[in-house]
Amino acid sequence: MKNLSRLPLIIRHEFMAIAAKKSFIVMTILIPLICLACIGLPWLLTKINTGDQENVAFVDKSGRYGKALVDTEEFHFEDITPIGDTGLKDFFANTDHLYAIAVIPADIDSSLSITIYSDNAIRHSLQKHIENCLNDSLTQARIQSYGIPELDKILSESKAEVELNCIKWTDEGDEEESNADIAGIVGMILSMLTYMFVLMYGAMIMSSVTEEKTNRIVEVIVSCCKPIELMFGKIIGVGLVGLFQMAIWFILIIIASTIFGIGMISSQPDMMQQTAQIASTQETQEIITELTKGLSSINFTEIFICFALYFIGGYLLYGSLFAAFGSAADQPSDASQATTPMIMIMVFALWVGIACMENPDGNLAWWCSIIPFTSPIVMMVRLPYDVPVWEIVISVVILFATAVATTAMSAKIYRTGILLYGKKFSWKTMLKWLK
């Protein structure tokens, strides 16, 4: 390409064509809100629940375990043992403040079962709470029944928990701590990002191409510039829209979560205390140190450089193919049909990526991180597990070589496809256009 002066114009136009659309702006704002709602709603719902305390009556025929049922924010327990367990149904019907009645049988020590009655579906939280209360007391009672002094203390002291330290010997002979879980999560997030980005914006490229073709503007445009310029303008323009959208989301999520977080804490001073208490416990501190250790064991510079490379390579590879399919079809529905095999490959790659977290050095994982159509997704999962540099280099080189080849091929198909009407989409004609 000798003259690239028109490319920035086309990129700008393609960018604005999507980014200035109302639907784009709405979606960009709406999606983080939906995400927040998904996180925030369950929390809000529990808040609503604790608002009104439900009354639960119990009949304790054993005479020992009734006091084990302690009140919570959600439930208040009242003892109605004197009433006995006959005519409970009538009693319940005549008492309108009751939510449920629990009956603790006399032989609970051996039967280990209790019954709850209600005219409602019984809330899971109530079931859990009663279970927890009784389990503890019953266990204590059983331990005591052995008559061995200080048995409970012995038992708690004899509980063993193993801590795993994973050390990896590097080639330089150093020892390095590795944390598979955190590494896997980071890789998976980046891999998902690539997958979603390529799929979403690839489809956008395709619909943009088909739209220009169906409304015939393309003939005017290619009389002003080369088809390949138009195609690249589209791929780059749409890619920039994607990056722009992701940047907005990133910022919005940070802002929103900050506000949300502060709001949550300030609205509940006692909860803040609770959090502080929890944070001070040794267990939590251990988790935090482990997390930081795990995160620091991952080479982020390497991961992000590779992420950028795989991201760009994968987007170019698939984006150009999407453009080619878009140009070959007359109708948007034809085009999306034609891309099904491509999407299947991507889904497969994602599946391999997930499997890869279990075994990052397996054969399938290895091959899929070299094959260019799956490598942007699979390699991202493998990367945090210290993949040898030569493998990364080979994989990236193959990816970019293939991206260049598919772009050249797509440019050929695109050039012919956009000006040809009335041909039903077929693989055969597309192969012909390659010649």
Binding site: S5, L9, I221, S223, L419
Partner: protein, 309 residues
């Protein structure tokens, strides 16, 4: 001198020969008609002339040199199938196309305003194209075609879809651009507009140029020696063996008789006039040149595969 010239251009699509050694010469500042039935190869030729596609063989000379990418800034093309970015605003669309053609932004904006004013579309400049009527949208496309003041304008069926008033306005604008120095190529089936405005034509049929030259010359060459005669007396005009025959005769609404006569081959017209003058009171005597429409139909039907083989 020829402004654009195609020499032995061959183009093949998937085994179908779209252009078979097509040559046309478009003189500078002429109005050139590219005629032909549907599927003859006109659009294929136009796409090669404005570098949308490449010829398989043959060459295109633009202003004397082999056509180059930089020349497309000097070409304006209005395709038959009209297309616009429906979601774009009128002014934005025009400016985008103008800038793709290499205009500076300020220049593009200024010229766009001039054209919008000329077509009475100034109030629509910030409206989305999808809200425009068909006629207005076509005007927007016309503006986008000519805004960069191209030296060569190619119009593929420019008048289709226009009402007579707008078609007339469009024709005026095209001829004004011609007067300002642009060379114009029309691709059309509309033969009356060809007779009216084209100086030269090339007729393409079945991937080949089957007829080309000046419109006046072609019509003369296709002369069938048919003349229309009007006489003021009511005496019947009789055919004369070896001189002329009567194709058709009827009383004229103005009084007298009008007739269509065919002069025998080799007989000069003035002999016939002399004869008629002796017997009748002639009020007019004109040669009936075939219309471009008749020439088109005749040429194309003579050029059917049966006649070639």
């Amino acid at each position: 001198m020829n402004f654009i010239e195609a020499k032995d251009v061959v183009k093949q699509y998937n085994g179908h020969l779209a252009l078979n050694k097509v040559s046309i010469d478009v003189p500078e500042q002429s109005v050139f008609g590219l005629l032909g039935p549907n599927g003859a190869g006109k659009t294929s030729l136009i796409r090669i002339l404005n570098m949308i596609t490449q010829a398989d063989s043959g060459e295109v000379l633009f202003n004397g040199h082999p056509i180059h990418e930089s020349d497309i800034a000097n070409i304006g093309y209005l395709p038959e199938e009209r297309g616009l970015y429906k979601k774009m605003k009128v002014l934005d669309h025009i400016i985008y196309i103008a800038r793709l053609k290499g205009m500076k932004k300020s220049d593009a904006v200024q010229t766009a305003y001039e054209w919008l004013k000329r077509f009475d579309l100034l109030n629509w400049q910030n409206k989305k194209i999808e809200t425009l009527s068909k006629g207005m949208a076509q005007k927007v496309q016309f503006i986008a075609t000519v805004i960069h003041r191209p030296k060569l304008l190619i119009f593929d069926e420019p008048f289709s879809g226009f009402d007579p008033v707008n078609a007339e306005q469009l024709k005026k604008e095209i001829l004004r651009l011609h007067d300002l120095g642009s060379t114009i190529i029309f691709s059309t089936h509309n033969m009356s507009s060809v007779e009216e405005i084209c100086e030269q034509i090339a007729l393409i049929n079945r991937s080949k140029v089957v007829l080309s030259g000046k419109v006046a010359d072609i019509r003369r060459n296709f002369s069938r020696k048919l003349y229309s005669v009007n006489v003021t007396d009511t005496m019947q005009i009789d055919p004369v063996e070896g001189l002329f025959s009567i194709e058709h005769a009827e009383p004229s609404p103005m009084g007298g008789i009008m007739a269509s006569i065919k002069i025998a081959s080799g007989v000069p017209a003035h002999d016939v006039i002399a004869y008629l003058n002796e017997h009748h009171d002639i009020s007019s005597f004109n040669e009936q040149f075939p219309s471009m429409n008749e020439i088109f139909i005749e040429t194309v039907s003579n050029n059917q595969p049966d006649n070639i083989l």
